[in-house]
């Protein structure tokens, strides 16, 4: 039992990281109608941006977080303007291929700029808190709180602001959004900015929890898509739910199968969703 609860704690932590990635991915999927394969690499780029801030200015990671988020948001918008915008009208699948190329370009840039070896924000070992039989690292609590804060911010943005509502509307019914006179280009830019910023946050948190390496994001791409599909494409709240479910399932699976097959668990849940309930647990918009 103790073990289960400990795994659940880890699962919620992983789940909040996945949720941040999945919220952005699902919004991009909803508004632009394609699976963005470079989303994991946005996470990695964000994590490395923060690393630069941490090392150059000698700041704590959380202070570097906003900088990394802003920089990644800018990068996402720039890539969209430079590449995706030009092929948007052709065919959604071409966007898919292009995002695949973006993923590799970003990853190789990381290797060229920051190197291929593992890196950490902070050397030295954090003493975990012991609460009864459970252990919790201070970083974990920090990550959880920060992720919750970001999710609440996104929620307020989506429900209280004009742009946020327009974003949901576009994800709901693109054609009607056009007819209504919602400026698609501006909403698309905002979607990239938010998706990029959230991915960066997820990447920084992942880096705090484990370590930084160039494929850190790619390895989480599959669980993120799994969360997106489970929660229903285009549904930010579904993505949060999906992220938590996938995160917990991946951690709990280590009770019965070798830990090295963890990614397979996310995949199995995803395939099961696609086969039995392709519109997601909560019906998606795309």
């Amino acid at each position: 039992m103790v073990e289960v609860i400990q795994l659940l704690i880890n699962g919620i932590l992983l789940g909040s990281i996945l949720a941040l990635g999945a919220v952005g991915a699902t919004m991009i999927f909803g508004v632009l109608r394609f699976a963005h394969f470079a989303h994991g690499d946005f996470m990695a780029v964000g994590a490395y941006f923060a690393l630069s801030v941490v090392t150059v200015f000698n700041l704590p990671v959380l202070a570097a977080l906003p900088v990394a988020m802003a920089a990644t948001a800018g990068l996402a918008v720039a890539i969209d303007q430079l590449v995706y915008r030009r092929i948007r009208r052709v065919q959604p699948v071409i966007l898919l291929i292009s995002s695949f190329a973006t993923a590799l370009v970003l990853r190789s840039l990381i290797q060229m700029i920051w190197g291929s070896s593992n890196q950490v924000y902070q050397t030295g070992i954090q003493l975990p808190w012991r609460i009864g039989p459970f252990t919790l690292k201070p970083d974990h609590l920090l990550i959880f709180l920060a992720a919750t804060g970001l999710v609440i911010t996104v929620h307020l943005f989506l429900t209280r602001t004009r742009l946020g509502k327009a974003m949901r509307a576009m994800s709901d019914n693109m054609n009607l959004a056009l007819i209504t006179g919602i400026p698609a280009d501006r909403v698309i830019m905002a979607t990239w900015a938010i998706g990029g910023a959230l991915a960066a946050a997820a990447g920084v948190f992942l880096g705090m929890d484990t370590r930084l390496h160039p494929v850190m994001g790619w390895t989480l791409l599959l669980p993120i898509f799994a969360a997106t599909i489970l929660g229903g494409i285009g549904r930010p709240y579904g993505a949060i739910f999906g992220g938590l479910v996938i995160g917990c399932a991946m951690e709990l699976s280590t009770l019965i199968i070798p830990g090295s097959y963890k990614p397979a668990v996310a995949f199995a849940i995803m395939v099961a969703t696609l086969v039995f309930r392709p519109q997601g647990i909560i019906k998606g918009t795309v």
Partner: protein, 310 residues
């Protein structure tokens, strides 16, 4: 480089072009003709490579070897082993939309990789399987003949398939699925068939690769890069066009190889890691192709409909 060195390099180069061309032809069956987005190429490739490696090597205490089968039987086995796997994968995914299929195929490739990595009793884990021999003691020159023969054979098969009524149905599914379904075609069945055939071709390429390099390990393929290169080849060559797929393999492998030389002359401080720099260049190249010439070097030419003048 002297003449002999150049010749040796040329043989090495062309062997790999041939193996990649086979993969590009397999992908063309799935993507170019049917519109199925498979980015799990490396998975099927690995299935083929490991199958032939395990079946044709001598006994070993650390992995399941010792079958010592001849080369051609090993290659035949790649297809036989891939067949049920691809069928199962295709069965599950045949009804999925393009983007879901894409996501699902990464997952499959990843699971296949994890399997080969973790099931050491079968595959020797990270250490990989060495000592896979070329048939009849041929060198790279002799092997090139074999690879070329396979390229020609596969090209003939997929080109015949493309011109057949079956190929026309695939294209109809790709271009207008609802109308094809309305015409009474069993879309899922045709898709499944194309997926299985394409995947088995990739597995065959994997088998040829294993015997060419003589060694397989989970990292030997650099799974993602392999998949990515095949995609660049098909898109650059012209998806839907089988000659385009082969031409794409040649040109992109030429570019890929020359990026190695470019990376060699540029100072390391400037580019960091050599392989990263090469992937970067190829990624940028693909973006440029997609933005400026998405139909590729040899655009698809549709075979005429029956009764239509040629």
């Amino acid at each position: 480089m002297d003449l002999a060195g150049l010749l040796a390099y040329g043989l090495f180069f062309l062997n790999l072009v041939g193996i990649y061309a086979i993969m590009a032809l397999g992908l063309n069956m799935q993507w170019g003709m049917t519109g199925q987005f498979n980015i799990g190429i490396a998975g099927f490739f690995a299935v083929g490579a490991y199958t032939s490696a395990i079946l044709t090597t001598g006994p070993s205490p650390t992995w399941l070897g010792g079958f010592d089968l001849p080369f051609l039987l090993g290659l035949a086995a790649t297809v036989l082993v891939c067949l049920p796997i691809a069928w199962l994968v295709g069965r599950i995914t045949a009804r999925l939309r393009t983007d879901y299929l894409a996501i699902a195929t990464i997952g499959i490739a990843e699971i296949i990789r994890l399997f080969f990595l973790n099931e050491g009793w079968l595959t020797n884990g990270v250490r990989g399987i060495p000592g896979i021999e070329k048939p009849l003691g041929t060198g790279n020159g002799g092997y090139l003949l074999i690879v070329t023969a396979f390229v020609a054979l596969i090209w003939l098969l997929v080109e015949m398939a493309r011109r057949s009524p079956w190929g026309r149905v695939l294209r109809a599914i790709r271009d207008n699925e609802p109308a094809t379904a309305a015409a009474g075609k069993d879309i899922a069945r045709f898709r499944l068939q194309a997926f299985v055939v394409g995947s088995c071709i990739m597995a065959l390429a994997g088998g040829l690769y294993a015997h060419f390099v003589g060694f397989v390990s989970p990292e030997a393929f650099r799974p993602l890069y392999g998949t990515f290169l095949v995609w660049v080849m098909l898109i650059a060559g012209g998806s839907g066009n089988n000659l385009g797929a082969i031409l794409g393999a040649l040109v992109v492998w030429l570019i890929w190889s020359s990026t190695e030389m470019l990376a060699g002359v540029l100072p390391t401080d400037l580019i960091g890691s050599e392989s990263a720099f090469r992937v970067f260049l190829i990624g940028v190249l693909l973006q440029i192709i997609l933005v400026s010439r998405p139909q590729g070097m040899l655009p698809e030419r549709r075979p005429p409909m029956p009764g239509e003048p040629r």
